[in-house]
């Protein structure tokens, strides 16, 4: 049989596969693969689509998918390029200008936008001051919309005229919401929105004036990526590209963590799937030893025998992967339709990638874990037909499992694109497995001595474990891995949600009050304390610009596109404080209560800004404040929690250094939604005070959190299902031996009860040791993950000590259930075997 063409081998393999399938031989492997592929496909789709959906929401903070900003107009080819790619485009020019009316003048932040603006999110406005807001397109040419505080400051009403530079515009509506300003709490001047067509007529924008030009883009992600790639080399030093992730710090943080979590969960599912496939593939191979020996006797070469079984496996893998991908796709469709109300209206379909990744997961896991035992099939000696005890020579198991682990690592990395997370999970898992596997082996060995005096069911049950301590340790590790993965996912879910909830307590401040004059400070504070239970303290604010660092102009020092560049582009809110504000942590230097040896006043700088500006302790900073120069020396660096919705500051001065300058006050507070009327009254009583609502941003963050929570629960469910599948696959792999044993014991006169007790003893102990492994491993990996991947504080989790009990119950229950065939088998089987 030296010339067996591939087509004959293929047809032989497929016929053989069909026969095996009919005989029910492939069920376990098929289902392990099916679940593996379905779980990773569904999770892949779910996280991709949800992520896209969440990003879509986050794009509202930019009013676009992608934003190109610069201090000079964009080059014509930068615009034509995007249009050629089929992207939607809107143009926006931002500048500060004095707005004049008969009553006086007021500095305003002006946005001149074309009719396409905004591309994401919605503009909201009201027909009159404090009227109900409506959603709709922006102002027509000749018109302008202004924020209520501009109306109040200039004593205007809708319909009045104002002048912006040389152009007179009719103030048609009250501007209540700009999507791309929702996250900006610190804009000190009121906004005015006008049509881009009127911009030239104002004559305000001249060469050299401080203007921000924005090109907004919207389109499918492929075109956007293409645009990003084509435009990046053409960016001028004063130009910058931003997408949703850069756009807003709070949303970016929440998204980042959610993404990592979903990644982690799908990696856990992949890991479990790998174990399930490994267990059932080993059984697949073991059951084919006889067939392989026979085929070798019939003249098939070693290569041909190996080819035949590899082809069978490949055919099985492809079929199961296709079915699994379809199943996973359907599962996520069902889930999205069930959760319609909670999710954003538009969710991108997710493309083909998650399905392909899911299938690749199944196939690589199959290859990684099934090929080694399959390779053994090729080495079955033909003599086995005569002597059944002859087993193939094993390959070095280090080589085999090393290859399998490498394959798994590659999939995990490709899926998550996160090397750190993959290594933490895989490395942590491996180290834990090796360490604990060794300990387990020692434990089992010492159990042997104790067991001599134990009763029969225990000896029968545990004898099974002790007979093959290596196999028992392996099984315990496999079950331990399942419990570990499930416990870890559950642990992180709780912890992440708590962290997020802490960030957004129910009564997080939803309003900011700016421009409180010193004369009104007391009155405002009193009035506010009647409305809101715990307002933040009133912080003094002096607008100032950082101009020099150690005598060098700051613009020469700061790199483009850095946070520092953004910070020095505009006035910073400078403040002073005697005490370190809450949620601020000193990371270098000292606070004021210690003696300041420098002649200059001290300033405490926010650490990220300091890093971006390359500031260190003792550096001398020069600020331009109200036309005067003020110098200070960097006295300390602070970490600031930007997620807390409290007034936060980049620069805090030593008390007594800025008091002589014109100062206003700033605070934040919580107001229940039904207090709308009181808010209007507050605004009327203190017309100079600017009240900003951040409810929209909070609501958006809360809805993202709700979605993430839901996603996490869904993913947990999948991990659980995958884990149980592995458990049963593991039991199936030892079923043949158990059936034989069960039949023999029955023939010798054992009652069912004895067999059940023996099983319980065996699986209970196996489960308990798995649980113990899981508890230790879970603590170890959670420590690594918290430290390096999620940036959370780690604390021990005493409830993990319950895992051995949970393991004993889970594995014990599943063990008895999964091997009930061995309990019910007819004792006659022993005669048939002979």
């Amino acid at each position: 049989m030296n010339h067996l063409p591939f087509t004959r081998l293929l047809s032989l393999a497929s016929r053989q596969l069909l026969r095996d399938a009919r005989a029910g031989e492939l069920r376990v492997l098929f289902f392990a693969l099916l679940i593996a592929v379905a779980a990773s496909t569904a999770i892949g789709y779910f996280s991709t689509r949800l992520n896209d959906g969440m990003l879509l929401r986050a794009t509202e903070f930019l009013a676009a998918d992608l934003r190109l900003t610069g201090s000079s107009p964009s080059a014509p080819e930068q615009i034509s390029n995007g249009k050629q790619l089929g992207l939607e485009h809107a143009q926006l020019v931002e500048f500060s200008s004095v707005v004049a009316s008969d009553a006086g003048i007021q500095l305003a932040s002006v946005k001149a936008a074309d009719s396409a603006y905004p591309l994401r999110g919605q503009l909201k406005s009201a027909a009159a001051l404090y009227d109900t807001e409506q959603v709709g397109p922006g102002p027509q040419p000749g018109e302008a919309w202004a924020e209520a505080r501009l109306f109040v400051a200039l004593n205007l009403k809708p319909g009045d005229s104002i002048e912006v530079g040389a152009k007179t515009l009719r103030l048609s509506r009250v501007l209540t919401f700009l999507p791309d300003e929702a996250g900006d709490f610190y804009s000190l001047t009121p906004h005015l929105l006008m049509h881009l067509d009127d911009l030239d007529a104002t004559g305000v924008v001249q060469p050299g004036s401080r203007v921000r030009y924005q090109e907004l883009w919207r389109g499918d992600s492929e075109a956007l990526t293409q645009y990003r790639q084509s435009i990046t080399p053409t960016l001028a030093p004063n130009q910058r590209l931003e997408d949703a992730k850069d756009g807003n710090r709070q949303v970016g943080n929440a998204l980042g963590r959610a993404e990592r979590y979903l990644n982690l969960a799908s990696l856990a599912a992949v890991l479990l799937a790998g174990v399930a496939v490994a267990l059932s593939a080993a059984r697949f191979a073991a059951k084919r030893f006889d067939a392989s020996a026979l085929l070798r006797c019939l003249g098939l070469s070693r290569k041909q025998a190996l080819g035949l079984f590899s082809l069978q496996l490949a055919l099985l893998g492809i079929t199961a992967s296709l079915a699994g991908a379809l199943l996973g796709w359907l599962a996520q469709l069902t889930l999205f339709s069930l959760l319609q109300d909670l999710l954003p209206a538009q969710i991108p379909p997710g493309g083909l990638w998650p399905a392909l990744a899911g299938m690749a997961t199944g196939l690589v896991a199959l290859a990684g874990f099934a090929l080694p035992p399959l390779a053994a099939l090729g080495r079955v000696p033909p003599l086995r037909v005569l002597r059944r005890d002859l087993l193939p020579v094993p390959v070095s198991s280090w080589l085999v499992y090393g290859a399998a682990l490498l394959a798994l690592g590659l999939i995990m990395w490709r899926l998550s694109l996160d090397l750190q997370l993959t290594l933490a999970l895989l490395g942590g898992g491996l180290v834990t497995a090796l360490l604990l596997g060794g300990l387990l082996l020692l434990g089992l060995q010492s159990l042997r001595r104790l067991l001599a005096g134990a009763s029969l069911p225990w000896r029968l049950g545990l004898g099974q474990l002790l007979r093959h301590p290596l196999a028992a340790a392996g099984q315990s590790l496999a079950f331990g891995l399942i419990i570990l993965a499930m416990a870890l996912i559950a642990l992180l879910r709780g912890e992440l949600l708590d962290t997020w909830q802490d960030q957004l307590p129910e009564q997080a401040p939803n309003h900011f009050a700016l421009n409180i004059l010193p004369a009104e400070k007391e009155a405002f504070s009193t009035r506010l304390s009647q409305l809101s239970p715990h307002p933040a303290p009133l912080f003094p604010v002096v607008p100032g610009r950082l101009v020099m660092i150690n005598g060098e102009p700051v613009r020469q020092i700061v790199s483009k596109e850095s946070q520092g560049e953004r910070a020095i582009r505009r006035d910073l809110s400078l403040t002073w404080a005697a005490d370190l504000p809450a949620d601020n942590t000193l990371i270098a230097g000292s606070w004021w209560d210690e003696v300041n040896t420098s002649e200059l006043p001290g300033v405490s700088v926010e650490s990220e800004l300091a890093q971006s500006l390359q500031l260190k302790l003792g550096d001398r900073l020069s600020f331009s404040v109200g036309g005067l120069n003020r110098d200070a020396v960097v006295n300390s660096l602070r970490e600031v929690d930007w997620n807390n919705f409290q007034p936060n500051f980049y620069m805090i001065f030593q008390p007594g250094t800025l008091q002589d300058l014109p100062v206003t006050y700033l605070t934040s507070f919580y107001l229940p939604p039904q207090y709308e009327k009181q808010l209007v009254e507050l605004s009327r009583a203190f017309p100079a005070v600017t009240l900003l609502q951040v409810e929209a941003l909070l609501a958006q963050l809360r809805s993202i959190l709700a979605q993430v929570t839901l996603a996490i629960e869904f993913v947990l469910l999948f991990v659980l299902a995958a884990g149980l599948a592995v458990l049963f696959a593991g039991l199936q792999s030892t079923l043949d031996e158990r059936i034989r044993q069960g039949a023999l014991l029955r023939a010798l006169g054992a009652e069912r009860k004895l067999l059940i007790t023996a099983r319980r003893a065996e699986f209970g102990l196996l489960g308990a040791s798995s649980g113990l492994l899981a508890a230790v491993g879970c603590e170890l990996i959670s420590f690594l993950l918290y430290r390096f991947a999620f940036d959370l504080n780690w604390q021990p989790h005493p409830w993990l000590l319950l895992l051995p009990l949970i393991g004993a119950l889970l594995v014990g229950g599943a063990g008895v259930l999964g091997t009930r065939r061995a309990l019910n088998v007819s004792p006659l089987t022993v005669l048939r075997e002979g």
């Binding site: 005890d389 029969l456 000896r459 029968l460 004898g463 099974q464 002790l466 007979r467 093959h468 031996e737 034989r740 044993q741 023999l744 014991l745 029955r746 023939a747 010798l748 006169g749 054992a750 009652e751 069912r752 009860k753 004895l754 007819s826 004792p827 006659l828 022993v830 005669l831 048939r832 075997e833 002979g834």
Partner: protein, 227 residues
């Protein structure tokens, strides 16, 4: 007069397959008294093992009855039949059927423990010494040769001093010389304990060591020899 230990009356076994019903045992009756030895011979597929399974209560007949040590097996459920086996029956199988997870001593102790004997360990040790394996007590089946495994199986079969010993091709997997030694052991122990022996075999020489011999063909009893 010796009492009957095993009685089979009008035993038939019919199985249903995709090609319809197939009768593998036709209306067979026999009776054995204590200390009897019976060989069941016949070609492959003649129904030998089926008959053995029915006599030992491993399976139930389609019609007819088996009374083993005074128990009508058809009236008992599987657990009750298991108890009867534990008390009165021993087995020797062609493929030895030792539990891989137990060592030689533990394998022999098994039936004694099932019956609740307090001195299981000591009795098992004595029996293993009797079959010449006193030095291999803690060896696992994998560490023993085929002949040694079968000797463990024989020790296990006689451990609980069964009233009836069923042996299914006990020398089938062994070479001539070893087979000879195993059959000597089997008949020797049987004689010592005065058990009833029911032996299924292809080996005519082994069959003729029994007091009685029945030959099956296509499920029918064709020959009944009482030397």
């Amino acid at each position: 007069m010796s009492s009957s230990i095993l009685t089979a009356r009008n035993l038939s076994k019919v199985v249903t397959s995709t090609e319809g019903e197939l009768t593998i045992l036709h209306d067979l009756s026999l009776e054995l008294i204590s200390g009897d030895s019976l060989a069941i011979v016949g070609r492959s597929g003649s129904g030998k093992s089926t008959l053995l399974g029915l006599l030992a209560g491993l399976d139930l007949p389609s019609s007819g009855s088996v009374v083993l040590a005074g128990n009508d097996l058809a009236r008992l459920d599987e657990d009750q039949r298991a108890r009867v086996r534990a008390e009165h029956v021993g087995f020797v199988f062609q493929s030895f059927q030792l539990l891989d997870s137990l060592n030689a001593l533990e394998n022999v102790m098994l039936p004694l423990e099932l019956e609740g004997h307090a001195d299981a360990r000591q009795r098992a040790r004595t029996l293993l010494e009797r079959v010449g394996l006193g030095q291999r007590l803690t060896h696992y089946p994998r560490q023993l040769s085929g002949g040694e495994q079968q000797r463990v199986a024989i020790a296990r079969a006689f451990a609980a001093e069964p009233a009836v010993l069923f042996a299914d091709e006990p020398t089938g997997n062994l070479d001539n010389h070893t087979g000879e030694r195993i059959s000597d052991l089997l008949f020797g122990l049987n004689k010592e304990q005065g058990a009833t022996l029911v032996l299924v075999t292809h080996d005519e020489r082994l069959a003729h060591r029994c007091q009685r011999l029945i030959r099956l063909e296509g499920g029918h009893l064709v020959d009944h020899v009482e030397p």
